[in-house]
Amino acid sequence: MSRAAAVTGVVLALAVPALVHSDFWVGFCITVLLSTLMASAWNVLGGFGGQFSFGHAAFFGTGAYTAAVLHVALGVNAWLAFAAAGIAAGAVGVVIGYLSFRYGLRGSYFALVTLAFAEVLRIAVGSVDFAGGGVGLYLPLQVGIANMQFASKAGYYYVALALGAGAIAVAWRLERSRLGAWLVAIRENEDAARALGVDTLRCKLQAITISGAMTGLGGAFYANYYLYLDPGLAFGPGVSVEVLLAPIVGGIGTIWGPFIGAAALQLAGEMARRILGDAPGLSLVFYGALLVLTVKFLPDGLIGLGRRMLQPRAAHA
């Protein structure tokens, strides 16, 4: 990417709240950025590492509830709670990861077990009163930077921008690191990787911890933005699916895939909403169909499609 294009991109990104006067569209950008963070997080474990998690909601919910409970029930500073959310979610990642990987769960079995863990957390948190029980948890509206609540969307936008950009940066750094190379090797052929000295358990644990922590931060942001949580929402399959759909649609295992996928999905969802109305379930039908179609016809995602279209036909080697 040329220097000029990159600089323009950064300037535009920073100027969005000033340039875009519709609260709705700023909110839209916030959603895309939040989605990018979590999609990138899933991509670290699933795209780079090849371990498909179907229960990433476990990390999202942990982050969301940790931040909410620490701040609301225990009066901890919202930003500290935010950091703690990431740490807590990362810790959950270590636990789930250690149990799953130590016992050799791969492929579909790993996907299933992550789903089970998310459900366990959903039920457990739903039965605990101080977390609001099944009814849900409301975060009191206390506008103020210290409380990580902002008067206008602009404040939220900049936090989301930092998170989204940070996520892309993590992916960028990972691709150039030894851990990234080893994760990809594990993805391609785990036994061959072991024979080359790769401590596969350690690498996968690192991946799931990073992935979990990032997703947890997303959950914490969500809590402070929407000010309402309930176990079904925070730990439910909706989050788990959304988090894996974006990288798959955008381009699994790439740096920008999660962002492109997140943007494409939110855009498509918005258009669908305008054309078909806001009926319950309709957008998810659309997402489900998109998942099937992408896996069948476009396994490399939109980035893969772009690459194929931009490259001149190479002679078959």
Binding site: S177, R178, V184, E188, D191, R194, A195, L196, G197, A317
Partner: protein, 248 residues
């Protein structure tokens, strides 16, 4: 350098490896031969940490590595290739080799540079940027060796690396392996291709039905009746002897 003592492995009712002992000294090229199903790959799997032996011990570079996991053994300096090649399909040849190089190089640039260097030394220069999945069988075998070499091993375990190669390809790989040994890497190779065994190996072990039945220089072993019988069946040695005597 490598000392295997009394190694055994049982799968259900089948005793795949039975009380096998062998030794490889530094700088040697030793071959492990025997008919199909003799247990050679199982033996490799135990030595390299992919399988836990039921009995016996493996000592490498002065340490008891019995039951160690593959990556620990590799870090100590023992690298292996697989009988059925296992490339990282979607990565380029250079990236494949770099995975091995990363064992001792934490920086990406350094690992990639090392990978390029090893790739060229093994004659894979023009292939470095191709995806591994697009390679021919011979090239993939070379890649297996290159990758393992990138981990800076003291001992290389090669599992049928000559299988499926035509005479030209053999003619290229055999001297390459000799060069690798001359560069300071000890080699233990499972091989069926006798030409390779005879031209490369100083010593050979013969494995049949899980047990070592012979050991010695390849030329001498080929004449031993027990070895002939292992490959050609009971009574074959005697029949061959009669034929030879009749022809004399």
């Amino acid at each position: 350098m490598l000392e295997v003592r009394g190694l055994s492995k049982r799968f259900g009712g089948l005793l795949a490896v039975s009380n096998v002992s062998l030794a490889v000294k530094e700088g040697e090229i030793v071959a492990l031969i025997g008919p199909n199903g003799a247990g050679k790959t199982t033996l490799f799997a135990m030595i390299s940490g992919f399988l836990a032996p039921d009995a016996g011990s493996v000592a490498f570079a002065g340490q008891n590595v019995t039951g160690w996991s593959p990556h620990e053994v590799c870090r100590l300096g023992l690298a292996r290739t697989f009988q059925i090649v296992q490339p990282f399909g979607r990565l380029t040849v250079r990236e494949n080799i770099a995975v091995g190089a990363h064992l001792h190089s934490a920086e990406r640039k350094e690992a990639l540079a090392k990978a390029t260097d090893i790739g060229m030394r093994l004659g894979m220069g023009p292939l470095l940027d191709r995806p591994a999945a697009a390679l021919t069988v011979a090239a993939r075998k070379r890649l297996e060796v290159a990758r393992a070499l990138a981990t800076n091993p003291k001992l290389l375990l090669l599992d049928e690396v000559m299988a499926g190669l035509n005479p030209t390809e053999l003619g290229e790989l055999i001297p390459t392996l000799r060069t690798i040994r001359d560069g300071g890497v000890t080699i233990l190779m499972i091989e069926h291709v006798m030409q390779a065994v005879v031209s490369l190996a100083e010593r050979a072990y013969v494995l049949n039905q899980g047990s070592i039945i012979a050991e010695g220089a390849p030329a001498a072993i080929a004449k031993m009746s027990s070895v002939v019988e292992a490959y050609l069946g009971h009574g074959a040695a005697e029949r061959l002897g009669r034929v030879a005597a009749g022809a004399a």
